[in-house]
């Protein structure tokens, strides 16, 4: 009995020492070495690919954000239509009232997790579709899927080229810019598939809006 207790203790001691030494290797040296290489060789990427406009950081090109002009009486954010709008984000978070663009909180990433038969999701998709069609003056059948569904991370930085093109005319009108200019701006900001086949074509909303702001500035 005593023998087996001391054997077990010895074995657990070996296990603990193995864990500690591997913790130093995998839990301290490994992340520090990778951080060292990352900060030396890829400083910009390793620190979140920040985007600056007029000398000020305006966010990360990897993370979506909201473009609102305050909130309405019910406390729901009102989209600022001078700017291109991102996808809806219905992930985790506090503001669950309205269907359209209520979130993009950088510290609560996540998806709606609603299934394809969920009545809340069906209703939200239909409402968003109506809103997009009405706001941008297009038939509902022209509204792309990414405009009415929320993403996996809740922080999707991109929209589809279709959704960006659909918004262009209204954005041009709100900013007093020629439609052709804004349409060209959108076309210039479409990133194709990586190497021609990876992923889907997309438009980075923050970069597009930053360029749009520069355009408005240069004219004003």
């Amino acid at each position: 009995m005593n023998n087996s207790v001391s054997n077990t203790a010895r074995l657990l001691g070996a296990g603990l020492r193995a864990l500690l030494v591997l913790t130093v290797l995998c839990g301290v040296l490994y992340p520090l070495a990778v951080t060292g290489v990352a900060q030396a060789a890829f400083r910009d990427q390793a620190n979140g690919s920040e985007v600056s406009s007029h000398g000020k950081v305006v966010g990360s090109s990897l993370l979506g954000q909201r473009y609102d002009k305050g909130t309405d009486k019910a406390g729901n954010p009102v989209p600022d239509l001078r700017y291109f709008q991102p996808r809806p984000s219905a992930g985790l978070g506090s503001n669950k009232t309205n269907g359209v663009n209520t979130q993009y909180d950088l510290q609560v990433s996540g998806a709606s997790n609603q299934g394809a038969t969920n009545t809340d999701l069906i209703k939200a998709v239909k409402e968003r579709k109506t809103w997009v069609a009405k706001t941008y003056g297009v038939p509902a059948s022209k509204v792309p899927a990414d405009a009415v569904t929320s993403s996996a991370s809740g922080l999707d930085p991109d929209i589809s080229p279709e959704y960006a093109r659909l918004q262009a005319d209204r954005v041009a009108k709100e900013n007093g810019l020629p439609m052709a200019t804004v349409r060209k701006l959108v076309t210039d900001h479409i990133s194709g598939r990586a190497l021609g086949f990876m992923g889907e074509p997309r438009v980075n909303v923050l970069e597009l809006n930053t360029a749009l702001k520069d355009l408005v500035h240069s004219r004003g």
Partner: protein, 558 residues
């Protein structure tokens, strides 16, 4: 180019990359686990452990090593989380509650990485890097060690010796996982993944003002999380978070990291048993199932059935624009057919049949290609069953790789395949009759009259029992009931099968090899691979079909 064509091309590129890595990596791992030499750093580690790395272990000793190391791992990780509040570099996060800390410790040590917490709101630098990321390495290395022990059982005769657990653990970590993880992490950073220690800081916003955002050792954790088929995300959104997975290339690269070791281990197996064709037969079995599942998933996701997705026009709910439907489908199949559980798109929002495919992938026991190590030993256990069934059909004593499959071997293999279904179906059934457990289902408004809610619970226990860790996240799993029962399912679903695998290895290693005759079933031929696929599908199908009928099938057909 249509999205479907782009999806297919991405699949082809992925297969080509895996094929290129197959032989060099498989041969390298075979050399790692059979080399008599120790590296200098390994000698230092053995001295710290106080272990003689050259001492052979019989199966009970090998098992004791696995269990002792894992018990210590659970306790250490539990304490680390419980004491987080008082530690430096905790980013101001409080200590984790006892049931959640147990759940998380069980989850990472069992290579499951089920998460009932949101990474960005709960875990500081110390727990993430010195706790969770360490288990990402060592739980994977443990799985590989057990697989190698089983392979030695086939390769050796008239001995009970299976190698040395400490040597296998350390070599797997130092020579296989760390080098690939370093390269993987640097590639990810170069493509935009974040790697710093800036913690929580403010970042300016376009419309003015600031928001809080998290920095951290993200890329380094991401690389090993995929490579070790772990899956626990730095952020709640896991690999869909742009800081973890910034673009379409990194997405394919992460799928590659998930699959590369489990597939290459079949080459290692072939090398070690002295017949690489035996490895190809296992590889073919894994490959056929994986490819079949990917094809089915792409078909159902591009068809986007279900009223909400029909109204939207594509299955984009819970998917990122930069990945799209095609590469999200490949990721989701690869993560559920291995024990990974990382997600680049949210499984609960897939089509009902897509959810069924994910569930079935885990229910197969995650062996196509499966977790690092666990996929190979799971598949070899299935091969034993297939050989047995074939033996019954032609009335011959079954044998595999020159070893007789007798009563003892079949009993151990049968115990192995019964464990997870018992855990999964038992706990899911219990949750259906407990009011508290039922209250956690968020999708009770589903048109399928609760079918989606049932799928969520079934998914949670399937994911836990099979050590996957992905979630049909509509379930609020952070309750004492789910934290505790899923924690138990993860531990029992990981370590009980290892007991039977090692016992099996010991029993095989003691045998005298039987000479090959004209009547021997040729287990390196396509016929056997076909038989193996059939055996896997029938065993899983019969076990889980009733439960699947109540969940995804009922929802998809309603």
């Amino acid at each position: 180019m249509s999205p479907i064509l782009a999806g297919v091309l991405q699949l082809i590129a992925l297969i080509a990359a895996l094929a290129l890595a197959y032989r060099p990596l498989g041969d390298y791992m075979a050399a790692v686990y059979s080399s008599p030499k120790h590296l200098r750093i390994e000698k230092v580690i053995y001295r710290c452990i106080g272990a003689n790395a050259d001492a052979e272990m019989r199966w009970p000793a090998y098992l004791r090593g696995v269990l002792a190391f894992s018990v210590v791992g659970v306790l250490f990780l539990y304490l680390l989380q419980r004491l987080q509040g008082g530690m430096p570099l905790s980013l101001g996060f409080a200590s984790i509650s006892p049931d959640q800390a147990f759940n998380t410790a069980a989850s990472f040590v069992s290579n499951t990485n089920w998460q009932s917490y949101s990474g960005e709101q709960a875990m500081g630098h110390v727990v993430q890097t010195a706790g969770l990321a360490v288990q990402n390495f060592v739980s994977a290395a443990t799985g590989m060690a057990v697989a190698i022990a089983l392979v030695r059982g086939f390769a050796r005769s008239r001995t009970g010796d299976l190698g040395n657990f400490w040597a296998d653990l350390v070599r797997g970590t130092v020579r296989v996982l760390i080098p690939i993880a370093v390269i993987g992490a640097v590639v990810l950073v170069a493509c935009g993944a974040v790697q710093n220690f800036s913690g929580i800081h403010e970042v300016g916003q376009f419309m003015g003002g600031h928001q809080q955002t998290n920095g951290g050792a993200i890329a380094s954790q991401e690389a090993i999380k995929e490579l070790g088929t772990n899956g626990g995300g730095y952020f709640n959104a896991n690999s869909s978070h742009p800081f973890e997975n910034p673009n379409a290339f990194t997405n394919l690269f992460e799928i590659f990291l998930i699959l590369v070791i489990p597939f290459a281990l079949t080459r290692t197996f072939g090398k070690l048993v002295g017949n690489v064709k035996q490895g190809y037969a296992i590889l073919a079995t894994m490959g056929v199932i994986w490819l079949g599942f990917v094809a089915l998933m792409m078909w159902t996701e591009f068809a986007h059935g279900g009223p909400a997705l029909q109204a939207a026009g594509a299955a984009m709910e819970g998917k990122e624009t930069r990945f799209g439907v095609g590469s999200s489908a490949i990721f989701s199949v690869s993560t559920t057919l291995t024990s990974t559980g990382a997600v680049d798109s949210f499984h609960s929002s897939f089509t009902a049949f897509g959810g069924g495919i994910q569930l079935l992938g885990m229910m197969l026991g995650e062996l196509a290609p499966g977790g690092v190590g666990s996929g190979l030993y799971g598949m070899l256990v299935m091969a034993i069953i297939a050989v047995f069934i074939a033996g019954l059909m032609v009335g011959r004593t079954p044998e595999y790789l020159g070893k007789k499959i007798g009563t003892r071997e079949i009993k151990l293999a049968a115990c192995y395949i019964l464990i997870t279904p018992t855990l999964v179906l038992g706990f899911a059934a219990a949750s259906m009759v407990l009011p508290d457990a039922l209250g956690s289902m968020l999708n009770t408004k589903a048109l399928g009259a609760g079918a989606h809610g049932f799928s969520e619970v079934l998914y949670a226990f399937t994911s836990g029992g099979n050590n996957n860790g992905s979630a049909f996240a509509g379930l609020n799993a952070n309750t004492p009931w789910y934290n505790t029962t899923i924690g138990l399912a993860m531990l029992l679903g990981r370590f009980l099968p290892m007991v039977f695998v090692l016992a099996l290895a010991g029993s095989l290693a003691e045998q005298q090899p039987v000479p090959e005759t004209a009547g021997t079933l040729r287990t390196e031929k396509p016929l056997f691979a076909g038989l193996l696929v059939g055996t896997i599908l029938i065993i899983t199908g019969l076990t889980y079909f009733p439960a699947l009928a109540l969940g995804p099938l009922a929802e998809g057909l309603s």
